[in-house]
Each structure stands twice: as C-alpha cells, then as structure tokens.
Amino acid sequence: MTITLNGEKKQMPDGITVIALLEFLKIQRQRVAVELNREIVKKDLYGTTAIKEGDSLEVVSFMAGGGFEF
C-alpha cells in the first residue's frame, strides 16, 4: 500500500502498525511523536494503531534550532 510519510510517498506492507513502521525505519520511539492524518497517536497506542492505504503520517523529533531555524 502507498502512504505519505513525512511528506513523501512510501510503499509499506498492508496494515502495518505504527510500532512496526518505526521498527522498520529503525527509529527510536522514545524520542519521537507521531501524527496519523493530523491526529496525534499516543505512544501506548502505537502497537494497536494500523496504518491504511492513503494515510498520511508525520514522525517528528527534536532537532537543532534556537530561535528561527531551518
């Protein structure tokens, strides 16, 4: 299935959960926050939240930046 991950189209196995996606991407879940279709996914729901075809995900973390930074 195709999903949009951080603004880019990606192919992922059907029905992959948020936790499986993070593991697949080798992302430490402790330091990230996830939005699924603009709704925050609570950390304790990562294991039970399945991603569907066409879903849009944002995975964010803390980066360098003081005031205004890009």
Binding site: E8, L25, S61, A64, G65
Partner: protein
C-alpha cells in the same frame, strides 16, 4: 548558584543562561559550546525525522536530556494553529511539558505575532503545557499572556539573530513591574555586555543562540556569556550606585599634605 535558583512552574533552573542548538558547525561543537556556557536549559526545534538517512546522528545523542532541561520551541511557525500542532507533538514526544512558544509574524523581522501567540498560548495552557512565550517587549501583551496562565514571558531584546542588544531597557523594566513572573530575555543579544545589561536590569534569565554559535570562537563566547550572566546577576543583587552628574571623591580630604 543553587541558592539563587530560578523557579518556573515548580521547575528549578540552575542556570540563568539558556541556549539554543542551531547554527553550529556540528554536534560536537554544539556540545562543547553548551558545556562552556554552563547552561542547563537547551532549546530545540521540532522537525520531521530524517527517514532517508537513518544513520544520521541525533542531537539528543550529544545533549543528554537527563543532564539538560530540553525546551522544545515552535520556531518557524507563522500561525497559531501550526504552533499548537508543533507544541503538542513536542509534548507527546514525552521528554517535557515545557514549550517555548513562538508564532512569527513577519519573515524580515521575525517579530512575534502577538495576537496569534496569545491564541496559541491559551490553547496550550488548556492542554496542560508549560508555555513560555516569545513576545515583543510590550508590557500589555506580557500581562495578557500571564493572565491566561503563562508562568514566565520571554520578551525580545532585538530581532532574532540581529545581535543589536537590549534596544529598549525601559520597556523591559516596565514589563518587570507589570507582571510578577520571571522575565527571560530572548533573542537579539550580541555579546557578553548585552547579557550583563539584561541581568543588571533585573531580568531573570537570558536565552540566546546566534551570539554564541555565530561568534568566531563559539566556545570562548559561550564562556563569556556565562560570566556576563553571573556578573549582571550579582550586580543586580548587589544594588548599583545611583547615577549622578557631578563627581564624588572617593578619597578623604582630611589629612592631606598642606602648603
């Protein structure tokens, strides 16, 4: 200076110098500069995780959240909606409930959009976040932000990254007399004397980034800023002499050799 700790929303801060993490050459330099500054608060932005280059190092591998207080910011947000979204994601990451709220109003000046900042602050306070807003040096807006539950305010000294220093010390003084919460000067300072001046005025802390990261020798400037804050704070607490137009001799007249 533990006996002079700054307390905001029950959180004890051991340093009155807070620093940003942007614009450094690499993470190693960031780490060194932060260590040299003595700051225990570091501000970070909230951005998309790099999913292409997974091996890329992460800032938090260098800045240990157990050692430093992480202050996520909403830098780059131009609307209340975006700032709230960013701040909520930062809180969900699970390290802290603190957020430095920035809603920018204009690309050229990076001045805050005070109206949108108020709107976003209201929403985030309601969600239980500890909102520290970046704001113009405007006592009225500062008061409104405190009224809606911000436990500190962060007025600018000058435009972000400008290095112009404290442009309006009198407004900062009025803010301090208007609100009874800590005042953290945020943005626009250029060198150690700017920081010292902010502290001498009675501000509770200073947050800066570019003045250190952009210096020719960031590590030395970080140290200079550390001493600037300490000197300014001590001078404020010591109580300076009043300014007078004419001289006052500091040596006694008595016992001078005669003609």
């Amino acid at each position: 200076m533990i006996d002079d700790a700054l307390i905001i929303a029950g959180i004890e801060f051991n340093s009155r110098l807070w620093v940003g993490t942007g614009k450094y050459k690499d993470f190693a330099e960031t780490k060194k500069a932060i260590e040299a500054s003595g700051a225990d608060v570091v501000t970070v932005s909230v951005r998309r995780v790099n999913i292409i280059d997974k091996g890329k190092e992460n800032l938090l591998d260098y800045i240990d959240p157990k050692k430093y207080k992480i202050l996520p910011n909403t830098a780059g947000c131009y609307t209340a909606k975006d700032a709230v979204r960013t701040a909520m994601l930062a809180a969900e990451a699970g390290i802290t409930k603190l957020v430095k709220l920035e809603v920018i109003g204009d690309e050229k000046t990076l001045f805050p959009d005070n109206e949108a900042t108020l709107e976003a602050a209201k929403a985030l306070v309601k969600e239980g976040l500890i909102v520290l807003p970046y704001v113009s040096d405007d006592p009225i807006v500062a008061r409104k932000l405190v009224d809606i539950g911000c436990p500190a305010v962060m007025p600018l000294a000058a435009p972000i990254g400008s290095g112009l220093g404290i442009r309006n010390p009198y407004n900062l003084l009025i803010i301090m007399q208007t609100v009874k919460v800590p005042i953290i000067v945020d943005a626009g300072v250029g060198t150690a004397s700017d920081v010292a001046l902010a502290m001498e005025l009675g501000c509770d802390a200073v947050l800066l980034n570019t003045a250190i990261a952009g210096a020719k020798d960031p590590i030395s400037m970080a140290q200079a800023m550390k001493y600037g804050v300490l000197a300014g704070r001590l001078a404020y607490k010591a109580g300076r002499i009043p300014k007078k137009l004419y001289a006052t001799a500091s040596s006694p007249i008595e016992g001078m050799i005669g003609n």
